[in-house]
């Protein structure tokens, strides 16, 4: 074994000056980017479902729901962006649950770094995922005939809002990832919780035809509020009130769940 002599040659290295919390978080973000490179399949999962939804709803239901597929697309596309971001958050929780099962986080925890840095890194990865998936869906929408009336500025504002939504929703699945050992359980639980939220909203249809009791829920469903804001931002005519209502859920989730995350993580 030649290792022992090689080991003797290994230079001893002292700790460099302490990196900033931001630098730690960016390193974890770089890890998320490397994952895209090595596991491109995850992008496929990420993008195929919303593409299928867009195509099926537009062409199968569009005519019946809104008179014509092109008119329906104009209504549906901002909603599918919200749905994509909300569903994507689940993958982040699955990834965390996988990492925790492998002891990777023990390594991170035994390093002298900012405690929340690994989670901030997950968020960086999530935001990249949201941007990639959102851009692909928007491009497909544009090809199919979607026209954002508020123009480029509206699109940029809508994507900023999507990032805020993804950031807030992400905490739910980070907490689930910390609590639940098996990644598939995180996924099952996540979708069980998200399906009613996404379908009982104004993403796919105008709630005007729903029974009163359901409409009462749909009107206050955070997903509906988010969708209304994105629609307004992309289509023009958004009010400040709509934007603030849409931001309530992400702000509350972050305020409550970020400290919870830290507590759960340090308690383990």
């Amino acid at each position: 074994m030649s290792d022992t002599s090689q080991l003797q040659k290994l230079p001893k290295v002292a700790r460099p000056s302490t990196p900033s919390a931001l630098s730690n978080a960016l390193v974890f973000g770089w890890r998320a980017v490397l994952k895209f490179k090595h596991v491109p399949e995850q992008l496929f999962d990420l993008v195929m479902t919303p593409i299928m939804f867009t195509l099926l709803f537009t062409f199968v239901f569009g005519g019946a729901l809104a008179g014509s597929p092109s008119e329906y697309l104009q209504f549906f596309l901002p909603g599918i962006l919200v749905q994509t971001v909300v569903f994507n958050a689940v993958y982040s929780g699955m990834g965390l649950s996988t990492d925790l099962g492998k002891g990777l986080f023990d390594r991170f925890r035994s390093l002298p770094i900012w405690s929340l840095a690994p989670f901030a890194g997950l968020m960086v990865g999530d935001i990249l995922r949201h941007l990639i998936a959102g851009t692909i869906i928007l491009i497909i929408g544009l090809i199919l005939g979607y026209r954002p009336e508020a123009g480029l500025f509206g699109i940029i504002a809508a994507f900023a809002m999507l990032i805020a939504i993804g950031f807030g929703m992400g905490w739910i699945f980070i907490v689930l990832g910390l609590l639940i050992r098996t990644p598939t359980t995180v996924m099952t639980l996540g979708f069980t919780f998200l399906f009613p939220l996404v379908f009982a909203s104004n993403i796919m249809v105008d709630p005007a035809t729903m029974p009163d009791w359901l409409r009462a829920f749909v009107d206050v469903n955070p997903v509906s509020l988010m969708t209304s804001a994105i629609r307004g931002l992309m289509g023009g005519g958004v009010s400040l009130g709509e934007i603030l209502l849409a931001l309530i859920a992400p702000v509350v989730l972050t305020a409550v769940l970020a400290p919870t995350t830290l507590w759960l993580y340090l308690r383990r």
Binding site: T4, S5, R15, N24, D106, R107
Partner: protein, 337 residues
Amino acid sequence: MNDTSPAIKLNAPLDASPNAISARGLVKAFGDVRAVDGIDLDVPRGIIFAVLGPNGAGKTTLMRMLATLTRPDAGSASVMGHDLISAPHAVPTAIAMTGQFASLDEDLTGRENLVLLARLWGFRGRAAKARADDLLAAFDLSAAATKQVKDYSGGMRRRLDIAASLIVTPGVLFLDEPTTGLDPKARKDVWAMIRGLADSGVTILLTTQYLEEADQLAARIAVIDRGKKIAEGTSRELKAATGSGFLHVAIADPARLDEAAGILEQRLGHKANRSTEGAELSILAGTAKDANEALAVLVGQGIELSNFSMGQPSLDEVFFALTGQPGTDTSREEATL
């Protein structure tokens, strides 16, 4: 490393204590189970120290407490001069831990894993890459540097995992069962690596359930069982503490094993350890004369012996004498694989 400041001292000791680790009365309970039940430990600087015990003895919990991954319920400890209770955030700057399960990102390459950790420690750009390459070379992994870790063999993973603990040369390196699950060749490689690290001046605390491993590597051994330390010393001291020697006998007719064990236990006043596969007994014998007399009784009863010998106890027998349970012997485990 040209890029790092030469002004930084290498884990300079904060105190004059000759001990890298000093622990008193550490306790950790999970529900009703006291996983670690009042352990004192003094690990001198610069040696390999082994914590030996069976599965579930509390080895990993003890190590996780010292590495600040688990908070102790009671007791105190200092690691490289940093107090575990009052300054837990200072401890990670002086230690590194390689856990039982490879703590690597399987999707990334070996080099990316090391660069990631080097950046987290604060190395920038080129310095991080240079350190990663140095470590890959030292651990004989340069050829696999750009392969994803999921394609590594068990031994390669283990080496990368240990390399990942040496980004910054630690004062104390914790190795939790460093060779569990490795084949004999890979195990010997990891042993050579651990010795090399100790020679370079790193204090190493390792846990193991393999008596042979502790015997081979460690300058001092603490034996723990059910959360308590039951013995500590050098391998030789532990063997000597159990008495002058062990009598080993092999019985020609396995059917008479119980009878033979009964006779030996009665004559020598100790419990006989039965081997699981052969008709063999080993028992602590006070003196050679006692052993001879006991053998004479066996022969007098017409129990035919196919073999007998008297010798220094193995660590396996030491463990048996200390706990009343057989330990886990590497050779035995390999034989049954």
